[in-house]
């Protein structure tokens, strides 16, 4: 059986790549995918920790995170589409409507 620490290391790498992508990319859609990447890394840690602690509730938590992520994607993509209809761009550099 593979050590849970290995899964943790893989999840840390995936989370870091997602966080870096969120910082580096300017396309709102790709930034959104990077958020999904980070959510997946966290889910992997929850599953591994649940197995290491002999607790099925880790999988229940992942189930809830999946549902919340789905709701988040629905609203987020709707926002991106309505921003695109308003500004004809999906680049976050050109969105400064909330600037004081």
């Amino acid at each position: 059986m593979i050590d849970p620490g290995l899964y943790m290391a893989l999840a840390a790498v995936l989370f870091t790549i997602g966080a870096l992508g969120l910082l580096v990319r300017r396309n709102a859609l790709v930034m959104f995918m990077c958020i999904e990447l980070m959510l997946n890394a966290v889910n992997l840690t929850l599953i591994s920790a649940g197995r290491a602690l002999n607790d099925i509730n880790g999988q229940v938590a992942v189930f809830f995170i999946l549902v919340v992520a789905a709701a988040e994607v629905v609203v987020g993509l709707a926002i991106i589409v309505s921003i695109f209809r308003l500004k004809s761009t999906a680049s976050v550099d050109e969105l400064s409507e909330l600037r004081g």
Partner: protein, 178 residues
């Protein structure tokens, strides 16, 4: 399953997951980013199965690869894939510097986690018993509908609100034009 087969599957899926994640970040075309995300999602689903989280793996493939990624592709097609991202460098050589720094950060994060001492606080004494976390539908549904039934109802409400919010956002411009 023999330990060697398990280790082989883990290594293959870890490489596939990292390659997919790198594709998400590096690809110029958002469609390729979405395909990279698909690869990562499937690899992570296989890793779930490897840890006996069967039900969660099925939900991962159905919800993420089936619904969420299709939604992403729809929006990519709607917004237009031909619009290339603004890639001019405001500082000379910033891309090279960030690539080196990013590689270092990824290695440090993975290395720190790998060499960290995972003393699983209370359960460090108890050996891992895969039978206790065999994530069949029944095993996951039992705590879901007893201990966490309130949270379950709350997520149902959240999904309803999200659907209503998405429809409201989609109709916003049309109403303001009238």
């Amino acid at each position: 399953m023999t330990p060697m087969v398990e280790a082989l599957i883990f290594i293959l899926m870890a490489i596939a997951a990292i390659a997919g994640a790198v594709t998400v970040v590096m690809a110029r075309n958002p469609v390729y980013s979405a395909m990279g995300l698909l690869g990562t999602l499937f690899s992570v689903a296989v890793l779930y199965v490897l840890q006996l989280a069967h039900m969660v793996a099925a939900v991962q493939v159905i919800v993420y690869a089936g619904a969420v990624l299709t939604l992403f592709l729809f929006v990519i097609m709607l917004i237009g894939v031909d619009k290339s991202e603004d890639r001019d460098e405001k500082l000379p050589g910033q891309r090279l510097v960030i690539a080196v720094l990013a590689g270092a950060v990824v290695l440090i994060a993975g290395g720190l986690t790998f060499f960290a001492d995972f003393d699983w606080v209370p359960a460090a004494s108890a050996p891992i018993n895969p039978d206790l976390t065999n994530g069949t539908v029944q095993a996951v549904a039992e705590p879901l509908f007893t201990d966490w039934v309130l949270a379950f109802e709350a997520t149902a409400l959240l999904l309803t609100i999200a659907a209503a919010g998405a429809i409201a956002l989609a109709h916003y411009r049309r109403r303001s034009q009238e």
